[in-house]
């Protein structure tokens, strides 16, 4: 399976993602944001970081960079595109997934482990995964998911919510909402579910000596689903 990770000026989780993808069997290529064409890929990843210093709105500048037109075309033709953290912010700015990510409700940069519940397994990202709850890491200042009422209705009607913040038992309540996200939404799909944007970082949870291994579960499952 071939993957590509896009590096924008200010990306800082691109190499972690490269390590994670390779660890679980992807042949990964790093792609510079000024490139025009994507290499042949089964999965394209927009990594976390602070592209363009988070100027204007997080992800807004990166969403207009040269490579993004190819990424948008790839996604619109059914290609798998995953945006993590800043990558999620870039995805919402392109309009590939609905909504926006606002400043965290309590104006704090949040860096901690959280639990998320997988809301939908009828997609190539979470199909066949045994767990319903994953412990992943978040690190962001703008992760407060928001969308209009009309968009929310559409998202819910199409089962586009991918993961919600919860506790270790999978309870989705305001108490376990770290950043004020609407309905505890931590990740969503596009309508066709080939594009996934999420705030948590699975690539930070792949090494038992450094962290938990719930990210490993995610990547192992993902590559098996793509085979």
């Amino acid at each position: 399976m071939k993957s590509a990770v896009i590096t924008f000026p200010g990306s800082n989780c691109d190499r972690d993602m490269d390590v994670a993808l390779k660890k679980f069997g992807f042949k990964n290529k790093m792609v510079w944001h000024q490139d025009v064409e994507l290499p042949k890929s089964d999965l394209v990843v927009l990594p976390g970081g602070f592209s363009y210093g988070d100027y204007l709105r997080c992800g807004s500048m990166a969403s207009k960079s040269k490579i993004m037109q190819s990424v948008i075309n790839f996604a619109n033709s059914g290609g798998m595109v995953m945006g993590i953290c800043n990558g999620f912010q870039i995805l919402v700015e392109t309009g590939l997934v609905p909504g926006v990510l606002l400043r965290n409700k309590y104006l704090e940069f949040i860096c901690k482990n959280v639990f998320v519940k997988i809301s939908d397994k009828d997609n190539a990202y979470f199909k066949n995964i045994n767990n319903n709850i994953l412990e992943l890491h978040i690190a962001h200042n703008e992760g407060n998911y928001f969308c209009t009422n009309d968009q929310l209705k559409e998202i819910e009607d199409n089962a586009q919510v991918a993961i919600n913040y919860c506790n270790n038992e999978g309870k989705i309540e305001e108490l376990f909402n770290p950043n004020g996200s609407l309905k505890n939404i931590a990740g969503i799909f596009n309508k066709e579910k080939n594009v996934l944007g999420m705030m948590p970082h699975p690539e930070r949870m792949i090494d038992p000596s450094l962290s938990g291994e719930d990210g490993s579960l995610f990547f192992k499952n993902l590559i098996n689903n793509l085979k």
């Binding site: 606002l102 104006l107 407060n144 004020g180």
Partner: protein, 80 residues
């Protein structure tokens, strides 16, 4: 020609920064404030000399980059 743009958050979008500023003002003794909403201001100096054309171009900029229309409104202020 210079054209200014003001970007504001839509009415029902939470503005935590505005809220904190409101609280700070309150603490400083400005007790009459009902609400504070924080926005953005841009000054765009363009080569275009036709005011109508310049305004149209800036409107396009607002829609494509300066504002995110899911959460923000823009207001173009005539040439200075």
């Amino acid at each position: 020609m210079k054209i200014s743009v003001i970007i504001t958050l839509k009415k029902d979008v939470l503005d935590p920064q505005g809220k904190v500023i409101h609280q700070a003002l309150d603490g400083m003794g400005f007790n009459d404030v009902n609400e504070v909403r924080q926005g953005k201001y841009f000054e765009i100096d363009t080569k275009e000399t036709n005011p109508k054309k310049a305004k149209d171009k800036v409107e396009e900029m607002c829609k494509k980059l300066l504002a995110n229309l899911v959460i923000e409104n823009y207001k173009i202020i005539d040439a200075l």
